[in-house]
């Protein structure tokens, strides 16, 4: 516990003393919600879906930038090699990284929900809010795996650029920016295959306090398994390369 707290403290200081890093990750989802989601008509369900969508956008964003870019940078720093010479397993450091990402993601999600109360024409009911938060926690697993895969697959320089290149189209295709119903047919047919769409379907179902369709449960499960296997292979490859 003592070591976990020491690693977490250092991780949080590194993160929150760098506004160029945390500000876009935390503020953009709420800002985009205000621009695109809060203007939706309060009639119908889509204005509520928008709140859930931008919560998912916040979680995936943190995963890409905190895990993806962060891990890629750590891998290239001698400091992380020095940390490995300290008398501790890698567990406190990994847990601290995950916890720091959860804190950041939770902050970003709360800002979206806060923005919906200030700027939105409609808000989520208390139960729906709790359900969406639970979904955010659930989808943080596949999202984190995607981020970790990115962090281990690329260099620090490439990671940020690649995160933008993958994250923004995935967010759009997954229906996090505009609801699938408003998408052109071709985009709609691609959308159902994207990991972000599986995540969004969970969040939208949570708004209505129901389970998503089985295809999305299976879809998210399959993506989680695939990303876990990819991460396992990439971490092993990296370990062999750097410490083999």
């Amino acid at each position: 516990m003592k070591l976990f707290l020491a690693h977490l403290k250092l991780q949080l200081k590194k993160t929150f003393r760098n506004p160029a890093f945390w500000a876009p990750t935390m503020l953009f989802p709420a800002m985009f919600y205000v621009f695109f989601g809060s203007t939706m008509s309060p009639d119908g369900i889509y204005s509520k879906f928008a709140i859930a969508s931008f919560c998912i956008y916040a979680v995936v964003g943190v995963a890409f930038y905190q895990f993806g870019a962060g891990i890629a940078q750590d891998r290239e720093e001698e400091f992380s090699t020095w940390v490995k010479t300290l008398p501790a397993s890698s567990l406190p450091n990994s847990l601290a990284q995950a916890s720091s990402a959860i804190i950041l993601a939770l902050g970003a999600v709360m800002l979206v929900i806060g923005a919906s109360h200030i700027f939105g024409k409609t808000q989520l009911a208390f139960n729906s809010t709790l359900a969406v938060l639970a979904v955010c926690l659930l989808i943080s697993i596949p999202a984190a795996l995607m981020g970790i895969a990115l962090g281990y697959a690329t260099s620090a320089k490439a990671a940020s650029a690649l995160a933008n290149l993958i994250f923004l189209p995935l967010a759009f295709l997954g229906g996090l920016w505009i609801p699938p119903i408003a998408m052109p047919e071709i985009v709609k047919s691609i959308s159902i295959w994207t990991p972000t769409r599986q995540m969004a379907e969970f969040a939208w179902s949570a708004v209505e306090l129901k389970l998503p369709d089985m295809q999305y449960i299976l879809g998210l499960g399959a993506y989680t398994l695939a990303f876990a296997m990819l991460v396992f292979w990439l971490v092993k490859r990296d370990g062999k390369k750097r410490f083999g």
Binding site: K2, L3, A6, H7, K9, L10, K13, K14, R17, N18, E77, E78, F79, T81, W82, K84, T85, L86, P87, A88, S89, F243, G244
Partner: protein, 289 residues
Amino acid sequence: MQTIVSLNNISKAFGKSQVLKDLSFEVQKGQSIALLGPNGAGKSTALSIILGLRQASSGTVSLFSETPGSAKAMKHVGVTAQNIDFSPLITPSELLNFAISHYDKPHKKNYLIETFGLRDIANRRMQGFSGGERRRVAIALCFAGNPALVVLDEPTSGLDAKGQSEFQTIIKDYIKSGGSVILTSHYWQEIESISDHIIMIDKGKTILSGGIREIKTTVNVNKISFSCTNPNQFTKKYFLYNKGEYTTTTSDSDSLIIQLISSGQKFTNLKITPRTLEEAINIYRKKQE
């Protein structure tokens, strides 16, 4: 004597490139060893294997009778890497707190700040720190856990002469108090000042291993030089003319000087200079070959 590091027939290959070949040596408690060799000789790989950062392709390694890299082994070890890069957003004081939290019996933070000259910079974020300041932080972190062994990879590169001298004093005191050192350095004066034993690696193999005193005693060669205007036959036979001086090397300077005087050679500026460690090692190696 307690063996704290033991490498037995360690080999390491990266693909087809064989970096270490049957490398064996031991470090005893209180010993200070310098790992020497040209760039690419395998020194850093050997250090990585000792610290458990890399796995040997074959052979066995133990660190404090434990598996290298394990928490049980590493709680006795302090490390300073060659090019450690610190986050510019963190202060030395925060980093020391972080390091200290990993050990059972660490040094007090204030002791580390005072000993390693960090008082003025301890609470400043490391953005804009000079190479020397970063180096001092790295050395302080290395000693944070009050280690029984310190592994110093090029510890003073980036330090000015004063910093180097202060560092050497600290390490000598540390050795006197029973600490052990594994050092790599390109500064011969530093190696001679700190180490009592050298292990020279080239192309992954140990090419020389021995105590510094033993090497210098075995070689026992001095450089003799003098100036003169009319060299006689003896001078011409035994000395080389170079930049206004006649020079030679000998293991028996007393006898040579007596012969020089007996030959009737008139001279000025007679100098007897002991060989540097670097020169002594070269001669020692030639003798061994």
